[in-house]
Symmetry: C2
Subunit: 288 residues, 2 copies
Amino acid sequence: MIVDTLAIVGTGLIGGSFALALKQSGAVRRVLGVGRNPARLTIARELELIDGVADYAQAGQADCILLALPVGETEAVLRQLAPRLKPGAIITDAGSTKANVVEAARAALGARFADFVPGHPIAGSEQSGPGAARADLFQGKKVVLTPLADTRADALETVKALWQAAGAQVETLDADQHDRVFAAVSHLPHLAAFALVDELAQRADGETFFRLAASGFRDFTRIAGSSPEMWRDITLANREALLTELDAYLAALQTLRQTVAAEDGQALLKMFSRARAARENWMKTQDS
Amino acid sequence: MIVDTLAIVGTGLIGGSFALALKQSGAVRRVLGVGRNPARLTIARELELIDGVADYAQAGQADCILLALPVGETEAVLRQLAPRLKPGAIITDAGSTKANVVEAARAALGARFADFVPGHPIAGSEQSGPGAARADLFQGKKVVLTPLADTRADALETVKALWQAAGAQVETLDADQHDRVFAAVSHLPHLAAFALVDELAQRADGETFFRLAASGFRDFTRIAGSSPEMWRDITLANREALLTELDAYLAALQTLRQTVAAEDGQALLKMFSRARAARENWMKTQDS
């Protein structure tokens, strides 16, 4: 057992899967669920993701508290928790952006900021809610923790051990670097996919385009099926890094446009070959 | 039986699968293979994709001749075939672009241009070569034929019947419209995926980006694993339509950039929601 009592604020896909994995592995004895939606908490209880429902005062007495919420809600929830935390309680989160979460935590937690370990599990599903939770969601997946200089070392170790018990590979990164990396490999592709689908859907003859689209289009735009609310929040939360990545991508596409206009077959072949080789090398490092 | 003898110029994935499907369905009696690569023809023969190897003179005596080649080779092959075609022989192709193929065919075939039915099967695989051929490759897939005003009606009907015998759904489209549609739903996404992967691979700290990339990135960039040679050829062959689509996409991304910079959450939510709805409607029409 790593901690006795875990509290989960937000018992959806991520929070529920974390709870399930840790109970099954014996890393925690008891899980409490906190949330605004009573129906959701009832489902989480029925599915045995949580052992009981708690309010912020009860959650503050847990040994570890995971926030698995839209990142925009982090500060308000931490302000509720801050005065109710027992000595030594560790707080962590699962938000997709980190610099803004760190800022919110510093503002809300004050002296207890050292007990906060910012985290981001790189796992998900198009499904959401407690019903989508799975004990193996994090198996073999990466989790990035972005501790600060003043983060308590033992809090970091505990959170790391919990994610490892859930099957994840943990690495640490600077919060700004985290946001820059995910702007490029996740947030930008989502925006690029949303933009392509929307641009075609807006055309008067859009139906012809969709009718003839095939598997390449399907995979390229799969992430345009993601939650609009969640992606609005992530886009706004990681706005600056995302703008930098959007500009780099626009510049790359402009260069490519010029290469196409110049009919420079050699330059096209070189670029496509480099990209394929880079992707093949990357795929070799992926196990799923 | 729809035709007695079919000749396939290019016995790779597409040509080989067409041959297999038509032999299995009884739509053709005999298939001849034409190609520059003897080793490839031997494999095609061993795999029983073809019943025999032919030169252009023998292929010209077939009832129907399919060109399944890089589009850039169309004109040279048709110039070889043109003087050797028996009366009534039908020629068709499987190229990914159509306006340039029509132009090449008109130049090469002269008076026999009416016997040419331009076509594009919307099916493929990351694999290529005769070993990748499958009798069910076209099952349930779409094939677009782009006949001209002077295309022989019975030639069009025969080619249509052959593709239907291979399991495909056939529709006809104007060649320019075909190129515009595929520039948008296929060629542009390929370029956008190649550009993203290459842009990241060129960075000094590119390794960190790839290391943390997950399933969204994998699917968005799957098509960046495609053949660089084939995509150079398609890009050059469909250059004008592709530039138009690239410009439309760049404009859409610029608008999105401004929306992000303005922190306009409502506009982001609206656009993401429209895109998701359009994609969901499209997915309902897809059966695989």
